[in-house]
Amino acid sequence: MTVDEENRTNVQDLGKSGEGSASAGPVIDRRVLIQGAGATVAAATVLSRTTPLMAQAGNQPVKIGFIEDYSGNLSVYGLQKLHAAQLAVKEINEGKTLKGGPVGAGGLGAVGQFAAKPPVISKDGTSLAVVSDGGAKAKSDVVFAEDPDVLIDSGEKGILGREAQLLSPDGQSNNALWQQLARRLIQQDKVDVLVAGFASAEREAIRPIVDQAKQLYFYTNQYEGGVADANTFCTGPVCEQQVIPGVQYMVEKFGPRGYTIAADYNFGQLTAAWTRAFAPLVGGQIIGEEFIPLSVSEFSTVIARIQQAKPDWVMTLLVGQNHHNYYPQAAAAGLKFPMVSTVNMAQGYEHKRFPPPSLAGMHNAIQYQMEVPTERNRAFVKRWMAMFPNDQYIGEMAQNTYFTMHLYAKAVRMAGTTDQQTVKKALESGWNIEAPEGTVFLEPGTHHCAHYIRLAVCDENHNVSFVREWPMIQAWWLQRLGVNLVRNPEYKQYTPDEDPFFSMFVKGKNKKI
């Protein structure tokens, strides 16, 4: 049987036996870890033994720690996410919640709809099941039937009758500050949950602190993938959920030859590695790669290199203000190659900020962006705009943050306590939640989410349409690596280099080209 089936069964066993294993499990690993993560974790173990359980005083609020950047470079995303959190908390306190519930480790089961065949590669990493076409090009009608309204009564105001309170300091896009703030929220305010992080750097900055305190932590961003951390739940989509469908579509539609331009840092390099490694499995091939420092903002040379290579399509993994300039400059230079990405439009809403046709022909496999044409999403957008009339856009990260908040509330209600270890257990019982994007499934073994992925296309007038849908694509890579955080907790981030499958493609090629 395949790796993931294996995992599922294991996870189910644990689902039953619960308590013991998770509290007994870590002790062995710690030894190992002390070498890796050094004294930090040593101290963490000490700390964790001494931390008392949260007092259950009835009317004291449930503290939700929330760090994002409201100033500095990343404020454009931070402010969106803050608003999402505020909206969710308001709803929670008004006695609302999102539909959904625990469905066991196996997946959506009876509650949600599967994609006919989510893309999964077999252990030896050769074959890749073809992703089913979700249906015809559809701007306003829906491919899969789903409940129009997912916001229902939770039966109580707040969480366990306690008011949900948002503590949201400003990280100022400054990692040192992030660490201080995380420590404050965890050690001083003793928050019941921490929801934080845009840039991977920020996540990595606070993860050691989170692990020291065994703090329940949600990272709500789309990111490069690979975080296997018993205390961390990643509710955003990762490479395998976006790159493969996207590339597959481009190869079918435009031809095999792809060219990658990526921001020259972790996210860009790793996602580029994914693209390079999986293009062949869907009949494509990466004929050129370029990594661009975040400081570069003038792209004539890059454009010329692409023109030289004459690819069928371009994978753009450009991040940050400077890099956004690529699109108008490329358009002005008359660059007409179709583009595919995992970040643009859905996050920085470049298609709203840049006049057409800068992003004409941009494809993006994402789980959410404001235009998603479902009724439940329209309702969500309406609620949002009612609360924040001046907001320009609702990006995918904002949506993740929104449903994550509700997910936490539901988990606490099931656990019947805010004690973090118990809530983690509850979260590890396999949740599905009806988010604005569609049905999301939180996979216990990897602490990652299966998402409803859509292929968004931007036309020359910057209208977005969704031409394909994959109602459930799992974050299967960590499963493939045999990660099972329920049985054996870890606290690291895997990189493709640690996967033998990648090394076939990565060897020597990960260097600059």
Binding site: G38, P169, N175, L177, R183, R184, Q187, E204, L270, F291
Partner: protein, 351 residues
């Protein structure tokens, strides 16, 4: 011993009266007893404010006493941090690894500082270009570190980690004693104090007098037979090592460092701390560094998006109304009332 005290109590810094020393020892006592009522978190925060001080002191020596502004002190901050991470990380498990790492970090700062400083000062680069040069150097370092995400960028079994930074850096450790939490707070306090006293003695010693002369009039000093380049180089290296010290403490505090620590924004911070306090007095710089770090943290934890505006306005106000730095000016005012000794005013650094 006597001479030591003499040096510490020399004229070249704020405060010589017994009242000052009384106050100083009171403050020290408070800092020492702090853990009695401060939580582990609060003391770790205060440790963070403290650990920036050595870097600021170094810049004060360089800019305030030597008239050379470096915009790239964070480069040495980062270098020391990364070096420590690599060395101590590879020696993980070895109880003396962290010590070796620290020494290694300082050594690398000293070496790089010496080379770069030679490059600058023996090249007779004009004074006002030095900040730009150092800044370019910093940007270069950041650009390089930012793209070291790939697996090939590992030294021993430590990953440089690119923009996401280097994680799991060991805390400082002497033998079996691991400096974490309260112990680390005391460790930081001790190091910072040591750095300050060393600098204070330094500026009051012969060599310091020469720095004074250089600040006053470079050419006159050279025409008294002093090799300006050598003096400036010496101070530059010293400043680099002080930044390194801060870098070491930083990674030991957060067990983590990223290239953005070497970025444009971080690079400008020390300049601000020093300018606001008054670059010509070590103590002033130390105080302002502590205060501004605290202020910034206070503003940000309030989730206040006006934080940068307030910082900027503060900066503007200080530079306009207290060109010599706010603390220096205040202290000078007091001194003037005490005895009719006119303080060294903010003297032009231009050449």
């Amino acid at each position: 011993m006597r001479t030591l005290i003499g040096l510490i109590n020399g004229p070249e810094d704020i405060g010589r009266s017994q009242w000052f020393w009384l106050l100083a020892s009171a403050v020290l006592l408070v800092l020492f007893l702090l853990p009695l009522w401060a939580s582990e978190f609060q003391s770790s925060n205060i440790a963070y404010y403290l650990l920036n001080i050595p870097m600021a002191l170094g810049l004060s020596l360089l800019w305030g006493y030597c008239g050379v502004l470096s915009f790239g002190q964070v480069a040495y901050f980062g270098m020391a941090g990364y070096a420590y991470g690599v060395i101590a990380g590879n020696l993980a498990g070895n109880t003396w690894g962290p010590l070796v790492g620290s020494l290694g970090g300082l050594a690398i700062c000293a070496a790089t500082g010496a080379i770069f400083g030679y490059f600058v000062f023996y090249g007779r680069v004009q004074n006002w270009i030095v900040p730009i040069l150092t800044l370019v150097f910093t940007l270069l370092l950041e650009t390089f570190l930012g793209q070291t995400a790939g697996y090939q960028w590992r030294i021993g079994h430590v990953q440089l980690g690119g923009y996401n930074g280097m994680t799991g850096i060991p805390s400082f450790q002497l033998g079996s004693e691991i400096f974490f939490g309260y112990p680390f707070y005391y460790f930081t306090l001790a190091i910072t104090l040591a750095c300050y006293l060393t600098c204070r003695m330094f500026v009051n010693a012969r060599y310091g007098k020469v720095l004074l002369a250089i600040r006053e009039d470079v050419i006159r000093t050279e025409l008294l037979g002093y090799d300006i380049r050598a003096c400036q180089l010496g101070v530059f290296v010293m400043a680099a090592m002080l930044s390194g010290m801060s870098g070491l403490l930083y990674v030991q505090w957060g067990n983590y460092i990223t290239p953005s620590q070497v970025g444009l924004f971080q690079a400008s911070l020390p300049v601000i701390w020093v300018a606001i306090g008054g670059r010509e007095k070590l103590l002033a710089v130390a105080i302002s560094t502590f205060a501004l770090n605290w202020l910034n943290y206070a503003l940000s934890q309030a989730g206040n998006e006006y934080a940068p505006v307030i910082m900027g306005a503060l900066l503007l106000a200080v530079m306009l109304f207290f060109p010599g730095g706010i603390i220096v000016t205040l202290a000078a005012g007091r001194r003037r009332r005490e005895r009719s000794r006119v303080p060294i005013s903010a003297n032009e650094e231009s050449t």
